[in-house]
Every structure is written in C-alpha cells, then in structure tokens.
Subunit: 657 residues, 2 copies
C-alpha cells in the first residue's frame, strides 16, 4: 500500500487531536496526525484540567506523570465589589473535586501535549507531522459503492519560511516599567526534539502538495477550523465576540488568595485567577471591546506593550490589593464568542472535535477538557468499526452524544457570563447554582448520553443498580483485590484498552444459592464470549469483554477456586489474571493498613445501589460510560444488547505491533 493511504487522518495536534491519536495508537489503528504549526505548545494556552479529564488520562496510565508537574488547589474563592475595592464573598471546595477520586491540575498546554505524544509513541503510534497544512477534502460521492479509501485530503507541506511561529510572548518587566523579551519556561518532560519541533530536513515533501487517501478524517483544527468551513457547517450562538486578555505571571502581591482559584468581580471588570505550576498564576481578564482612551489597537498581539495596558486593568480590578510582576511567561489577547456548530460529522466520515465545533469564554475552565472528551468518545468507536468489532451505525452516536454536551457547555458559559455580570448586581444564589452546575460539568457527573445502540434504555422500574444511570460515566468505589488485598479504585480498573467491562456484583458469596447463581452466570458469560471469537482482541490480555467480579464479602470469606473460571481467566504462558476478583472489605486481621483506609467506606454494592442478596451486572463501554445494567440472570438480555452493537469482525485492519 502506498504511504499516502491510511485509515484515519487527524488534522490538528492540540490536546484533542493528540488524544485521538493516543487512543487510536492503543487500538492499533493506522493513522496520520498533521499540524500546520512547527512546534507543539511551548507555553501558555489551555491550562485548566478538570477531574474527569484526569480520569481519562489515568485510564492511559499518564495521569501521575502529568499531575506531578501541575499545580493543585483545594478552594475556589469568589470576590465581589466591596466598600473599598474587592472583598471576599465566599470560599468553597474547588469544583469537581468531591465527585472524583482524582484532583484537578493546572499547567501549560505543553505538558499535556508532551504526555499524549509520549503515550502514543509508547503504543507504536505515528509522530506528529508538523508544518503540514490542511488544504481541502473531497469524498467519493457514492458511498454504497465506495472505494476502500473514499476520502481524499489535500495537504500542503510547508517550507520553513512559510511556518507560522509559536507566539512565546515571554518577557521581564524592568524597574522603569518597560518590557524586555525573555525566554519562557517551556520545559516539559518528553523533550525529544522530534516530538516538539518541526524537522524540516527530514520532510522530503517540503514545499509540495500531497493527497492523502483515507477512510476517516478528524478535524481537530481549532476555532478557525478550515475543515468545518469547507464542510459549510454553521456556528450557532452569540452575535458578538468578547475580548479577553490572558497573562501568565509570577505575582508580587498582598492579595491573600493568589494561590486559590478565584473569580474576582469588580466595577472595573472581571478576572479569573488560576494558580499554576512553578509559582506562576494565570489571569484572564475580560477587556472592554473598545478601549476608551487609546482604542482597541493598543491591546493587540501586534503591540509588544499591550501587556502594560492589560495589566493596568488588572491592577484596577485588584484594588485595594496591590499586584505586580517581573516575570511574564506568556500573554495573549483574543476574541471569542459562545457558539456551537450545527453538525459534528459529515456522513460519519469526517468528524469535528474540540474548538472546531464549540467556542466559548475561558470562565468555566472547560475548553480543553470537553475537547479531549470529544476525542475520547470518538476514537474507540472509529477503531471498533475499522476492526469490524462494532457496527458502523455506532458512529452516528458521536454527534448524538457530543453535540448536546457542547450545547450545554455554551449554555453554561452564557449563564456564567450573566451571573458574573456586576452591572445587574451579583445574586449569590444564582452564582452558586451556576457553579454547582460547573462543578458537575468538570466531573462529567452532569453528562448523560441518550439511549442508542450503545446505551440501553433504562426503565424507571429498573432497580438492579439503583445508583447507576445508563449513559453516564461510572462513579468510583473502593474495593480490595482478592489476590493481593490491595485497595483499588473500581474506576481505575476501567483502562482504555478497547475492551468493554462487565462488573458482576456477586452479592454475598457466603450464601450458597447466591454462589450457585453467580457460577451459573459465569457459565452463561463464557458461552457469550465464545460466540464472538471472531472479534479479535489486539492483545491477549484485552478481550472484547472483560469480566470483573465483586463480592459483598470480606476477602477472608471466599476463595477463587470456588468460582467459575470465567471469573479468573488463565493464559497458558502468563497464568492467571489476578486483577479480576474483588471484595468489599479487607480480610480479618489485615485492618492495620493505612489509617485512610480504616474508615468504614461504602462497598461497591452500596455505591452502585445493588442489593447484596441479589447482586447485579453493570456493562461499561470502552470509554467508561455505563451501557447497560441487569440482574445476574439477565445474560440473555445482555447478549441481545451486544447483538445490536457488535460487528462481523470481518475487517481486521489491526496493525500488528
């Protein structure tokens, strides 16, 4: 096959595009990823990463690596106009923290890009092709009689002199208040130059136009998406843009909450403060559309002294507190409107994700999060269809699942702008309501995908798992591994390997009839798995369906050998899988573990609302979303669900690695 044929082309190598590439690499999908810039993000840009995003990173084993470089903070403070300047109105736990086992983190976008690139590389994925610009896309019209590669993507391999430069925009403020250009702190792990910068010398296609023939294209090409514009999708929403100044500084200030997440409302404008890595803070400030004194042109990216103007506004807002800086790592100004595209996909062949289909203000700190979550929703579906593991009809769920989320995001951002407007006075109840919604947006607890081929309808009478809602991400409970006694987060078992997960909540195994029922379920599950041997797994340890058993017992109350072998698969070379059986409580005599664990934590049955005498099953998709729930005896029903989802397995386009 000529090297201008590939299964998927990802256009844009920001966090959203790289997240697609990571998951496609994990799943062995042949793809290319191009970006018109010559480097990855070096500093600045998106910097707030919510707990749900961190959960997704963790499912690829990259969370600790990234998080250990970020700043964490426990509280969000709201400041409003007081008698003499601003005054603190409230402080509370930072949004989303209490609905996830993980913590938000802030750092410049380069860290997440570096980690996603490193993760894809470890999985045998392609290098980002930098300095390659999307030109146009055409699609063979007759899809019923389509060629194997119906999409033709024309891309331009830029010469070095054509590359748009990364705006580092770092400076030092001198004693006299003037600004001197300086180096930024662009350090991130993953410093392999190949992964950071364009290597023009290695690109023999430089200066030429290439046509790439593909099965699918993903447009992750940002707010000005050229793909979206070519497809003619319309951005619905606000009529006008707001203008924002952004600056990353090491603050010199007496403001007591500078290491907290702060929303500051004042008569002079509003500010969002985000504590960051290495002593930095990020300040977002909404600028007047027209600067009354000097006009808008003074606050422009083309004016190196614009930060002086921006910072004057910031200092006004902070009064009576004093703030200044000497070190600025990055700054920019930009216009943005609250808008969402009317379509997210063209014929389920070209998909758009991230800023390409939703733009909004930075107030909620959600942008890069929702974008990476778009990618996470899409990648496994695309891979599944390419591998023949799931039916092509599942692809339509990308738009049906993600477009409503984007609309919610825009609504939320609009509400946030409204309640934070000081013109109408700050109504604390309104503010708290919107922030509560924002909290559950960051944790994804607010997200529910509608019933579809991959989310079963849940009836109100269905009380098998009364606290589990179909179409939402599975919440977390702590369990103990039968083999090691390790305390483990149930969510951490949901690795992104392309497998579906079946949580078998076995109930009380000391009750003999219950044990028999569970083992009968094991027999049925074994036979179900055998019906889909044609759905090959990429690696032996990643079957299409991974069955995990949770007993409502102490570890000392049951042993693996009394359970059906469906619950502890054996591999001829690697022996038993030791990460499939869990209990709600530690063994007697082993309660001397860490004090944090000795609290009487709810077991997994309680957290998911499953009756300990009856048990139940929860099916989770490869993106940690609950697809189906049922009784232990409902294996037929489960099989019917899978019959509507699973593919023929005939197109095994799996890259061998």
């Amino acid at each position: 096959m000529a090297d201008n044929h590939t299964d998927v082309v990802v256009v844009g190598a920001g966090p959203a595009g790289l997240m697609v590439s990571l998951y496609l690499s994990e799943l062995g999908v042949k793809h290319r990823i191009i970006d018109q810039l010559g480097t990855r993000a070096l500093n600045g840009r998106a910097d707030g990463f919510q707990v749900r995003t961190v959960e997704i990173w963790d499912s690829f084993d990259i969370a600790t690596r990234i998080q250990s470089h970020g700043s964490h903070f426990g509280e969000w403070a709201l400041w409003t106009p007081g008698e003499e300047g601003i005054a603190r109105t409230s402080r509370e736990a930072v949004f989303g923290e209490d609905s996830s086992r993980l913590s938000t983190a802030t750092f410049h976008q380069g860290y997440i890009e570096a980690a996603l690139i490193e993760g894809a590389q470890k999985r045998g994925g392609p290098l980002v092709e930098r300095g390659v610009k999307f030109a146009s896309v055409t699609i063979d019209p007759d899809t019923s009689n389509s060629s194997a590669y119906p999409i033709h993507l024309s891309v331009q391999h830029l010469r070095e002199d054509e590359l748009e430069k990364w705006g580092v925009n770092a400076h030092r403020k001198l004693e006299d208040g003037s600004l001197e250009p300086a180096d930024a702190d662009i350090e991130a792990f993953g410093t392999d130059p190949e992964n950071i910068r364009w290597n023009g010398n290695q690109n023999t296609k430089q200066g030429t136009i290439e046509t790439i023939h593909a099965k699918y294209v993903i447009g992750a090409d940002g707010g000005h998406s050229a793909i979206r514009r070519q497809l003619g999708f319309k951005m619905d929403g606000a009529n006008s843009d707001s203008v924002w100044g952004v600056i990353d500084i090491i603050p010199i200030t007496d403001f007591p909450d500078i290491r907290r997440l702060c929303t500051i409302l004042s008569k002079h404008g509003n500010i969002l403060v985000i504590p960051r890595e290495k002593g930095l803070i990020r300040i977002y400030v909404q600028l007047p559309d027209e600067n009354p004194t000097t006009g808008p042109s003074s606050i422009s990216l083309n004016n190196p002294n614009a930060p002086i103007e921006i910072f004057k506004t910031i200092q006004q807002i902070f009064r009576p507190y004093v703030i200044d800086y000497k070190v600025c790592d990055w700054w920019t100004v930009y216009k943005v409107g609250q808008r969402v595209s009317d379509h997210f996909s063209f014929n389920n062949q070209v998909f758009l994700i991230g800023d390409a289909v939703h733009t909004h203000t930075p107030k909620g700190g959600q942008g890069s999060n929702v974008s990476q979550q778009d990618a996470y929703n899409l990648a496994w579906k695309l891979a599944g269809v390419l591998h023949g593991q799931i039916k092509p009809s599942a692809l339509s769920t990308f738009e049906s699942e993600r477009l409503p989320i984007a609309r919610d995001l825009i609504t939320l951002d609009t509400n946030l702008s409204r309640v934070l407007s000081t013109r109408s006075g700050v109504d604390m109840k309104d503010v708290k309501d919107v922030y509560a919604r924002l909290k559950f947006f960051g944790s994804n607890v607010a997200f529910q995908y509608a019933p579809s081929s991959i989310v079963a309808t849940q009836s109100n009478n269905d009380q098998v798992a009364s606290k589990v809602i179909h179409g939402t991400r599975l919440s977390n409970a702590y369990v103990y591994n039968l083999s090691s006694s390790n305390r483990i987060a149930s969510q951490a078992l949901l690795k992104s390997t392309g497998s579906w997960y079946l949580f078998v909540l076995a109930g009380n195994l000391l009750h003999q009839p219950q044990l028999s029922l569970v083992n009968h379920t094991g027999t049925q599950l074994e036979s179900l798995s055998k019906k889909y041997p044609h759905i090959s797994a990429r690696r032996p340890q990643d079957p299409f369906l991974r069955v995990l058993l949770f007993a409502a017992n102490k570890l000392s109350d049951f042993v693996a050998k009394d359970l059906h072998s469906a619950f502890f698969p054996n591999h001829s070379n690697h022996g038993r899988d030791y990460d499939t059986i869990f209990g709600d409580q530690q063994a007697d005599g082993s309660d001397a573990l860490k004090p944090e664990y000795s609290r009487n934590l709810d077991g997994v049955h309680q957290v998911y609302g499953v009756d300990k005498e009856k048990g139940g099953m929860i099916l989770v998709r490869p993106d940690q979303i609950v697809a189906w729930t049922g009784r232990l005896s409902d294996t037929d029903n489960l099989e019917r669900f899978f019959a509507g989802v699973l593919g023929s397995g005939t197109d095994k386009s799996i890259v061998s690695t």
Copy 2:
C-alpha cells in the same frame, strides 16, 4: 583546573552510588561517578523498596515517577508446614506501611537506577562513566599540610573486550521443560542510551590508566569492594555463607497468595515471594550448601540449566500447590554471609556505603534500602563541608550514625534466619517479634542516631515536643496551606535541598499573647539568619535555614499579614513564598473536600506532642532527621546549637549552574 581534578569521586553506580550523585548534583558539588560495568542494571537484582526509601525519593521529586511503575501490595502472609505441605498461618499488613504516608514498591533495580540518573541529570550532574574500574587509592599522608586534592585514585578505562557482561539470564521454558534463552524486559523510563550503556567510542581514554585527584572518595562498589579491601577494613560476622537462588518469573500456579508478600517455611526449605511489576514475581530460595544429588556445581551461574534444579526445590516447597512458569526474566545464585565492616570511613576522606560495608541475606528486603540511606546520610554532610557551610567535624557522624544501623541490620537478619528455621520449629511469637522489628526498620522508625554535633541531647524532662525524638526521622502529619488551602503532608515539605528546616509550631494564634510571642520569635529568627549570610544558599529559594510556621487554628482564623515577615519571605522578582504557613484545620465552609480528608485527623501539634497553648520548635536536618527541639523562646539555645555546627563559609566550592 585539569579535568582529572574533582571534589568527590563516587566508585560504583548502583542505587547507593547514584543516590550520592543525585544529592551532590542537587547541592552543586563537582564530582565524578564511575562504574566498571558497561550498563546500568538491566533486569533482576534488588527489587524491594521500603517506605522510608520512598520518602527519600519523594524529597527529590522522583517517587511518583518510580512508584507508578512498581508493584504494590497490602499484605504479608506467613506459610508454615501443615499436614499436607504448607498452610497459611497468618496474614497481616505489609511491614512498614502503617508508619509512613507512602507505600512500598517492587520492581527491578533498573527503574531506580534510571530514575536516580535522570534526577541527577536534571540537576546538572555528571553522566556515569561506565567501563571505568577502580585500581588503587593513595592519600597524601600529612593532612594538616595537605594539598587541595590529597586523594589520588588510579582507575582503569576498560576496552570493550575487557568489560564484564551484565548477566541478563532471561529464558523461556519450553513444553519439554528445556530452557531457551530469551530477551528480558529491561524497559525502564530514562531510555537515553547514554544513561544505560557504555559508549566506548566516546571514551578516548579507553585502555589507559588515569589518576584522578580528589578531596573525597566514596566507595559504593558492592560486597566485594576493592576499596574496602585496599583500606584493610575487616568484615565481622558469620563464619559461613548461605547460598541463595533467585528467580524472576511470571508464575502459573494455584497458590492463592502469589500476589502477596509471602514467607514460606517448609521441610524442604524456605522461600520468600515478592510480587513484582508486569505480572512477575521474585522468588528467593535458600539452597542447601551442598546439593546432595548432583553436588553444588550444578547450581551455578555457569550452568544454564541451574534454574531447572532451583525450580525443583521451589516446587517441592510449594506443595500441595502447583507452580510452574514459561517466562523467566532473570535468575541468579549467590553466596552471602551476615557481616559488617569494622570501619565505614578512612580518616573522613574515604567513605564506604552500601554492600561494601554490610552484607546479609535477602530475607528482610532491606539491602538496597539501607544502602541508599547510607548515601542520603553522607551526601549533604560532604557537600556542606565542601561549601564551608558546616564544620568538617560533622563528617565523623557518618560512621557514628550508620555503623550502628548496619550492625542492627545484621542482628535483625540473623534473628530472622533463626526464627524462620523450621529445624527448631516455628515459634509464632518470635516470628511476630522479629517482623515487628523489621517493619520499623523499613520505615526507619527503629532508627535513632546518637547525640553529636548535629543531634542535640534530649533530656527526659524535655517535653516541648513530647512525641518527637532527637535523631529520628520526623514523622508525618497533615496540614493545610494558608495560601491555597491545599492539604499537605508535613514530611513532604522536607525537600532535599540542603536546607535545614525549622518547624515553628505556633500554637493558638487567636490568643493575642501567643501571637506576640510568635512574632517575637520571628524577630529573633530573622536576626539569627542574618548572622550567617556568608553561608550562601545555592539557589535563592533554598536558604541555609527554612522556617515553616504551623498554627493550631483553622485557616479562617488567622491571616499572614498579622505574622512577622520572617514567616513569609519575599523575593524581589518572585514575590512571596506561599509554602511557609500552615494551619491544623481547613477554613469553615471548605469542609466539602475529598471524603478522605474529612476525617478528624490529628493536627500537627497533636502528632508532635506540642502544647497548643505554648507552641514549640523542631529543627530538622537536611536529611529529615530531628536535630533539636525547644520552646518558642529558645532561640538563643538554637543559636548555640548552630554555632557548633555551622562552618565559616569560606570555601564556597559551589558549581554555578
């Protein structure tokens, strides 16, 4: 200066030598590190890392990176002879876990070496010079009139054909039971080839002898230490060696505790099972000194079929359970005796650390831990003396502090061998006693350094911090940062930067006289710091003394601006230091943080036994050891302590980086 002059030469680049290099790099000390082998550890070797070691890694910010690759386990199980083969006698929390905020981890030695190398590199340290063998050392005899570089180290730069090969010893077991050589899983992060393998082409000194002139030499050259032998130190201890077989396999077994730490005693011999990374387990088995059937020669490193013999013994011990494998990542056999050197230093110019001065069986899993802790004890003292920051007399505390620990280790290992001997029958009380001691060895809670110039004498009447013992590592308490509200481990504040830490437990700041007392202490501390301006810090953020204030209050009950500025230093470019003031409890209204935090945790005053109405101070050395305690009014006493420790600051041999 010619490049054959350097301040310190470290001989041996195992975990102990690399730990010295890491801390010397952090402290800007010019040094070289050589190793006669051509690679870092590729697989196998030391694999058990105790909680105290992980605390030390964490103080260099490398713990999460290493730990995320390791295996963790909550329980230790003891198996003893039963009626039909072995039977489980007890299971309990793994040793050391409950006395640290961190967890033990197991993985092959390559990971820790890679992480230590990476850490030293990030701090501007030297690359390991591989294929360089120690030949001899001479020291200018008249130290009173010594040259600046009185030690002359002769080293041999090996040619490639002279390099001893790393014994990878990985194999697959075939269906017929025969063994086939295979690749090992040598992957570890830090895959930069320069840090793993000898690069002979870049060593222009190949095949020559070089004389290196140094101020200090550290022998970290293992159990057969050539430096120790040249110095003529005597190894005291056991008359005979025991023979051990070691094998890293992916087990195929029905033994239920294979993912727990296990001690297995049987009539056929004893085994230690250690769960490891990537499904591996490590098995240590003590072999008969003379194999009764085939003689000892069959179980030798020179016999590629020795694993077959070793595994026969292992299978006998595991009965009635069945164990086998197909994948072996590493194996070896070795002889070891329980011995400790009579000296750890020669004239405080040449120091020996790690296996070079203490050897013992692997039963307690302490070897590499105590070795790295030797290194951690020594490095900052050496750097301090070289920089003129502390008096040279402090160097004698290396031997006086570490030699008793090594003797304790040997005693413990001897006791462990005794109580685990099945010949005399297993006395469970004895076993539990020894394991309790082992637990507190792994956490270092058992370690107390004697009074010296750097550990103040503690009188029995001294109840200022009644739960803090001079000469021990400071235990952990959770506190809340005043600036961010972040929950932070007090131990995690003790970064290894060469700074001493003064914990000012301020008591109840709502009590006005107490606030005045605290601020008076601040004045005194500021004047103390000003007396030692000649003791330069390497970096502005790392002063010789770092003062941290802990209030016995809620965060909402006090503000920074009411405190003396000694408690929140300002930097003209970087503003305030936000990591210096803490409170025992969260602010009102912010108790919605993670459920783990909502427990009524003891505050720092309670944990350290400090009266909340009076307060107190705890001085901690640059190696997290408590040096001194006193009342808030005892700043004169503190100053007298420092007068006995701190140097003239005249020899500022700090490498600028």
